[in-house]
């Protein structure tokens, strides 16, 4: 946990760490529940979703754990919380799915709903978020053989259902994709378009993290966009210091966008008033 105004190589103000936390490496998602003041984290390596007090520090145990065979959780990659509908949303890469649990779920509990199957088009789910105003689920999914992009479902969809919209294609600039967030007030989707190289095949070109020819960006789309459409707003380029942005978070009140970069191991804050215009009366 870092102070929002931290800068340079400042250290964290708090750290939740240690075996007692049940955290591990490969935690590729995090969500803050501002209503109940809780933090939700997926643990990929233990097939678990952990919920902590937001003020937790040190080797503090989670207050709730969702884990076990009835959860259907395979490898949880990303999470978010829908405070309006009191649900935790879990996205999986290996499982190629999105699951919804009661926010207060604890232990080996079955999901309320599960979006999974060939009609969904989902492959490696990297980010999930809910627009409670429009009752939509927004999912970022990466695929080596299918579509990599932003998939938009109805929030209450269940089973093997097709998305109502997909933002993907050359004009979108999306090659590799990670975390997504929505600004429900303005109807905007913010996407960490990482565009990193992951060959996983030795014979392929060197996946050097140093000199990417297709650097990533933070892209902003309208919640009603569909198809191969360019982003309506972009943060990208050498001055942005972004190479492979993997995460995105928003602070509409301060009109700031945050990203985390896996090459520089850096966290960047951008003041973007044009992304957060005052809502029209």
């Amino acid at each position: 946990m870092f102070a929002r105004l931290a800068n340079g190589n400042d250290g964290p103000v708090r750290v939740i760490e240690g075996q007692g936390t049940k955290l591990s490496r490969t935690m590729h998602g995090i969500a803050y529940d501002s209503v109940h003041d809780e933090i939700i984290v997926p643990v990929h390596l233990a097939g678990a979703v952990l919920v902590f007090r937001a003020g937790a520090t040190g080797e503090e145990a989670p207050i709730r754990i969702i884990q076990g065979p009835h959860t259907h959780i395979l490898r949880p990659e990303t999470v978010n919380v829908d405070v309006k509908n009191n649900e935790i949303v879990v996205g999986e890469d290996v499982g190629q799915d999105v699951m919804f649990f009661p926010r207060e779920a604890k232990g080996d509990v079955a999901p309320l709903r599960m979006i999974r199957g060939p009609k969904t088009g989902l492959d490696e789910v990297r980010g999930v978020t809910v627009d409670p105003v429009r009752n939509l689920l927004v999912v970022s999914s990466r695929s080596g053989k299918g579509t990599t992009g932003v998939f938009i479902f109805n929030r209450t969809d269940n089973g093997d259902v097709a998305p109502r919209a997909i933002i993907a294609g050359p004009k979108s600039g999306i090659i590799r994709i990670r975390q997504v967030e929505v600004d429900p007030e303005r109807g905007k989707i913010f996407v960490a378009v990482k565009n990193n190289v992951e060959s996983y095949k030795f014979a392929d070109a060197s996946p050097s993290p140093w000199s990417s020819d297709k650097p990533g960006f933070i892209g902003v789309w309208d919640i009603n966009d569909n198809g191969d459409v360019p982003p309506r707003g972009v943060i990208k380029g050498p001055a942005s210091e972004m190479v492979w942005p993997a995460g995105v978070a928003l602070d509409p009140g301060d009109r700031e966008v945050y990203t985390i970069d896996s090459v520089s191991n850096g966290m960047h804050s951008y003041y973007m008033p044009e992304f957060f215009p005052a809502k029209k009366q």
Partner: protein, 402 residues
Amino acid sequence: MIKKLAAACALGFVLLATLATLGRAAPQESKSSKPAPEDIPPIRMIADPYPAFNGIAVDAANGVVAMSDPNRKSLLLYDRARASQGGASRGEASLPMRQIVGPDTFLGMIAGIILDPRRQEIYTANNDIEDTVVVMPYGASGNVKPARVFSVPHQAWGLALSDVADQIAVTVEVQNTIVFYRRQVKGVEAPVRIIRGPDSGLADPHGIYWDESHNEIGVANHGNFRGVVKNTGGGCAPSFVVEDDAEAGESRPPSIRIFAAGAKDDVRPLRVIQGARTGLDWPMGIAYDPQHDAIVVANNGDSSILIFGRTSNGDVAPLGVIRGDRTGISHPMGIAVDAQNGEMWVSNWGDHSALAFASGARGNVAPKRIIRSAPAGMPTPGFGNPMALAYDSKRDELLVPN
């Protein structure tokens, strides 16, 4: 980097001032497809410009201590004996003999490191993205191509080498596996054997040592376990079969698991150190100390070094612990034993330093020598390939899972 950060911040303030002066109108919602000006400097940026030590290895015969640095993506080689000289004891950064860094090196999110004194080669595991082990000659410096690179499964962490078996062992976190390759492996080669399966108890393995004198291998096991994913014929996929207990995720206690060096497949360990008395807490690096017939463990979770007897078994307390404010131990990742000089080296993830202790040290003792990759007291964000973040509006904090 500091200059770049300062420049970026300055540019950010210039941008803000310009925007305020011009009173630029915000684009209307959903009415324009014209992108905003793209190349915008951050107003703030948290990044560590210094190397951060993960793994550590020592070669007494050639007088070298080497560290892996996933932060700046480099390998650093220091003079083992001269580490006590210079300004590190006064808090200044130490000068490495050589740093291997740059786009040609294949170095990325590197973790474990080992040295081959006989052939003067450095091995380091790219834990994420690259999924390779990079082999560099001792003499490498700067932006140079590796002597060899070989592919390993995703999330390789620990490395161990045996001259007797002429093999290299690699731990793989997500696969709950130890994979063995022939030492001269290059490119894509099948492993010569693996240890994996429910009887092995492997679950998120990290550090590994190869004790040739007793023909044993020891592994630091974090305990995070997700059942072996079923192969349905079209690749690995969830089974949807709830009654299959092996499909459930588990958070098991951490452990040290000792196997016969020649073990393969789903084999039971010879001994297991596990339980509340052990004090194990995110055990990372692990090494065998032949001088004391002991297993030494970098216990990351409580910033300590635990020392167990080689034949310890079950829920046993460590024979000794190095912990406390005088030790300088801060979230240790790597540990290496220099039997020739009676020392053990510890790499700190928490504060840009590596420490040399007498191998018989116990308690709250000061290290004999310190190597620093940054001036003392320099904070470290501690990021290692971060992938997500969230904003805590109540505390005005940014949350990063690492």
